[in-house]
Symmetry: C2
DNA sequence: CTTCTCACCTAACAGCTGTTAGGTTGGTTG
DNA sequence: CAACCAACCTAACAGCTGTTAGGTGAGAAG
């Protein structure tokens, strides 16, 4: 048996990095422990010196990805200014993190359903926190009249989460021409719309 | 050996329906042939009277999902009117299909990466067609001055695809309160923006 | 009644899966 | 020197995987 977080074993971090990379590329069930080990020049059995199980590895990778997403949202609510500024800060922060912890975020987004019920439950507290932060942004905006007519905060949140998920997808599907420009324009579409025709 | 498309064997359709349902719920690699068979009251080996392989089943389910997505886009470009009307038609058509062929579309969206390289190649012609249709919508709009300033058709297409993918995600993650209202508001956000503050 | 075909089943295959118990290093400490 | 420890390896396990060969029964065709 080993601790869930042996507190800054750097080897352990390397292993989680490798797990995140392979999970992101081949999916959780498509990945074998031997795939993860091979990427580290190890044998599969040796992983269990650092990890309790394959499932625990997925949960830890997901938790790290979720933390990254949460930090971006926390940063955004801390930004002073109107809705536009806050949303741009949110996207910018998230996109920056995507380039550093992309595999973790991608695994959290795409593979979290493969967790056991208990694993999902353990993450759900943090996801609720994340939802609450986004809701606060849009409810603040509505209170100040910055939210477009007919848009409920909850619907705006769903659209925003979808936008961020879309960035994650574009990131993992392989490099796209001018990723930053596409991301910026998608953000402007979210804020101001793709149509110049009113109604 | 069996044909790739024995032309309207209804039993075969039932089997593909079952495969799509289980693939959508548990993922391709998370699904066993025995899972699919069990849902039909059959044994795993019997599936091979109708299917060439598990992989072929995935490809066929993906192809059907893609066809549904393509039809929605074809319908949208056939609609007369400005960008707003065409986009609303696209979303409405896609959401309607989602409720009928949701599993197929979900599998196409989420599991197509698990196909072999040849399988993906076989689908790519249709996906290019789909991209071209969406591009045409946004390029038409730009030519008529209906596309917002600073938005390239390609970026608009990525955002649109992301929006549709988001609907798929919301659909499979389990019923959401007021799905139709959320979808409608997300569409209005895409067209007119979530912010009432200009700039 | 015989023959044929469709749709299914049984039983098994080789290979892969996550996981474990116990052994082997190389470096540090007493 | 001896003892110890972290970090790995080897070999194997029980169970599951997709897939196949050959058998079975029902119903249609002649």
């Amino acid at each position: 048996m080993n601790d869930q977080t042996p507190l800054s074993s750097s080897r352990r971090q390397e292993i989680l990095d490798a797990a995140a990379a392979v999970f992101a590329q081949k999916g959780y069930h498509g990945t074998g422990m031997r795939d993860i080990a091979e990427r580290l020049g190890m044998k599969a059995g040796s992983l269990y010196f650092h990890l309790a199980s394959k499932d625990a590895a997925l949960e830890e990778v997901c938790a790290a990805g979720l933390q990254s997403v949460l930090r971006a949202a926390e940063h955004a609510v801390g930004v002073a200014g109107d809705l536009n500024r806050r949303i741009r800060a949110l996207v910018e922060s998230q996109v920056r993190d995507l380039k550093v912890h992309g595999d973790y975020i991608s695994v959290f987004v795409h593979e979290r359903r493969q967790l056991t019920a208990q694993g999902q439950k353990r993450l759900s507290e943090v996801t609720r926190k994340h939802s609450a932060l986004l809701d606060r942004i849009f409810e603040d905006a509505r209170a100040k009249g910055e939210l477009a007519d007919g848009i409920e905060p909850r619907a705006a949140r769903y659209a925003m989460v979808g936008l961020l998920r879309n960035f994650t997808q574009l990131y993992v599907e392989g490099p796209i021409r001018d990723f930053d420009a596409v991301a910026a324009q998608a953000t402007e579409i979210f804020l101001s719309g793709a149509s110049s025709v009113r109604g």
